[in-house]
Amino acid sequence: MIHAGMIHTEQLTRHFVSKKETVEAVKGVDIDVRAGELVAFLGPNGAGKSSTLRMLTTLLPPTSGKALVAGASIITEPAVVRSRIGYIGQGDGAGHSFRVMDELVAQGKFYGMNSSDSLARAKELAKTLDLSSLEKRKVSTLSGGQRRRLDIALGLMHSPRLLFLDEPSTGMDPHNRANLWDHISGLRERQETTIVLTTHYLEEADSYAERVLVIDHGEIIANDTADNLKATLAGDRIMITVDGSSASAASALVAERGRELITTNGSREVTIAGRFDQGTRTLPWLLRELDHAGVNVRAANLQVPTLDDVFLSLTGRSLREEEVAA
């Protein structure tokens, strides 16, 4: 099968057998990623994100289905796939007993670079990723943020056109996370690298990914830009508070364009909430109409949805709750 994209899978499936019970970790997913895209797999822990990523990077053989990654089959040409992609896993990529520069140079050689090219590239990346002063340090003495930068440098040694990152910012503080994303964004601008990553951080998928694949129970349940997902699956939420006496008039107006109405009765006032398409344009219209109808609006509030609202509307569960539970 010939395909122009960076990734093309057909019914990619992975089962695990645990205590004689078969767990369907990934249930026949079809994924397409074009060159230059930045795609995020979003889902709770155990949803099958990492298993999918590990199949695409040849680390995990699929139970069935097929996949072309960077132009080669993960099943019949795993070594070719490996030579063309970069992979940054969840653990520390650099061996703890090794020195920073030694690990970078060894990594380049593992991808077939000669010593001098590998050294030059390692120096260059160390500079870009603020590791130059740490070249002779043992990996075990580095801080968490420094190790993560080293992981990224390791993944980029052979300048792959396709880079996979598995939960790249888990356990990082907000400062380091922002720093990491600066590097990833810079990488895309300079080299047009295709990037596929998994995350369970909603904000991360929301602000950085061009396309989000929502994965739950081993299936892709949504696949679009974050903006489209929010507009089609969640919608903006408008909440108005009016005098108790004009509640029915207000409800009728809100119901004209809104859905999923929720009415909360206070002692002298009533709060009506609903979901709307294009909330920012609807709110001025609604206030004008309420005024015409003689309704006294005491408060108005517009909430732009998050990907959590998307996940909630798709599954009936909140990703944030699962995050806390995990």
Binding site: P61, S83, I85, G89, D92, A94, G95, A106, F110, G112
Partner: protein, 255 residues
């Protein structure tokens, strides 16, 4: 094939950086064989009937055993390093590179074998003033034989590490319970000939026995001993079986 060699060299170089960056580890590794030779050797000389060791000088008989022992200790524990790398995550990074799977195993085993050459040279040099007769060509052949055997042992050790990756204590439990019977039943430290018949029979089923016998023949300066042929066979079989099992385990190691 050429990439297998290049891959193995690259894995070996990475592993060796650990040794070269920390010269203290080399110095420390030299102490162990000297302790055995210096403390166990005289005990052996005092307690074993010279007939059981073919009337040889105890040093000439015991020194090859010490060298086989260093080789066995080093290569059979190499899996512990791999286990550490699996736990921390760097093993997965290495697996995601296009390296040949067997080069990962061979490169790691060779790192355990490289110091063996230095260790062997030292114990031999120290022993010469005490009456050890050196046959350099024979000793080199002996080390080569150990190298082939050691790559197999290292691969078995790494395969064990992968099998035990979810229960780390298992690695040491299995390694220790196999290491000592293998070691004792090879006649490495005490001659099997001095023991009862059943011990000698068990020893015949131990591949290591043939290696030890051959090393003794080689260190006494002869190529003309049937044990050497058997030892070559035992070493090649251990190496092939170790790599076969090892590569199978590597393929399963990320599931």
């Amino acid at each position: 094939m050429s990439t297998l060699v290049a891959d193995t060299r690259n894995v070996f170089q990475r592993e060796m950086s650990l040794v070269l960056r920390d010269p203290f580890s080399i110095i420390f590794s030299l102490v162990q064989p000297l302790v055995f030779l210096g403390l166990f050797g005289p005990l052996l000389a005092g307690s074993v009937d010279p007939a059981a060791i073919n009337g040889e000088s105890p040093l000439q008989w015991f020194l090859p055993g010490v060298i086989v022992m260093i080789c066995l200790f080093g290569t059979s524990t190499t899996g512990a390093n791999l286990l550490f790398e699996i736990t921390m995550g760097s093993y997965e990074r290495v697996l995601a590179t296009p390296l040949h799977r067997s080069s990962i195993l061979i490169g790691k085993a060779l790192k355990e074998l490289a110091p063996l050459v230095v260790q062997a040279a030292l114990v031999v040099l120290v022993s010469i003033p005490f009456g050890f007769k050196l046959y350099p060509v024979h000793v080199l052949v002996g080390l080569l034989l150990l190298g082939v055997f050691g790559v197999g042992m290292g691969a078995f050790s790494n395969a064990l590490a992968i099998a035990a990756r979810k229960r780390e204590w298992m690695f040491w439990a299995v390694q220790q319970s196999l290491l000592f019977p293998l070691l004792i039943l090879s006649g490495m430290m005490l001659p099997l000939e001095a023991g009862p018949q059943w011990i000698q029979v068990l020893g015949r089923f131990n591949p290591l026995t043939y290696i030890v016998d051959a090393e003794r023949a080689l260190f006494s300066g002869t190529f003309n001993d049937p044990a050497i042929g058997w030892a070559v066979l035992a070493a090649v079989l251990t190496c092939a079986a170790g790599l076969w099992v090892g590569v199978k385990q590597v393929a399963r190691s990320t599931t």
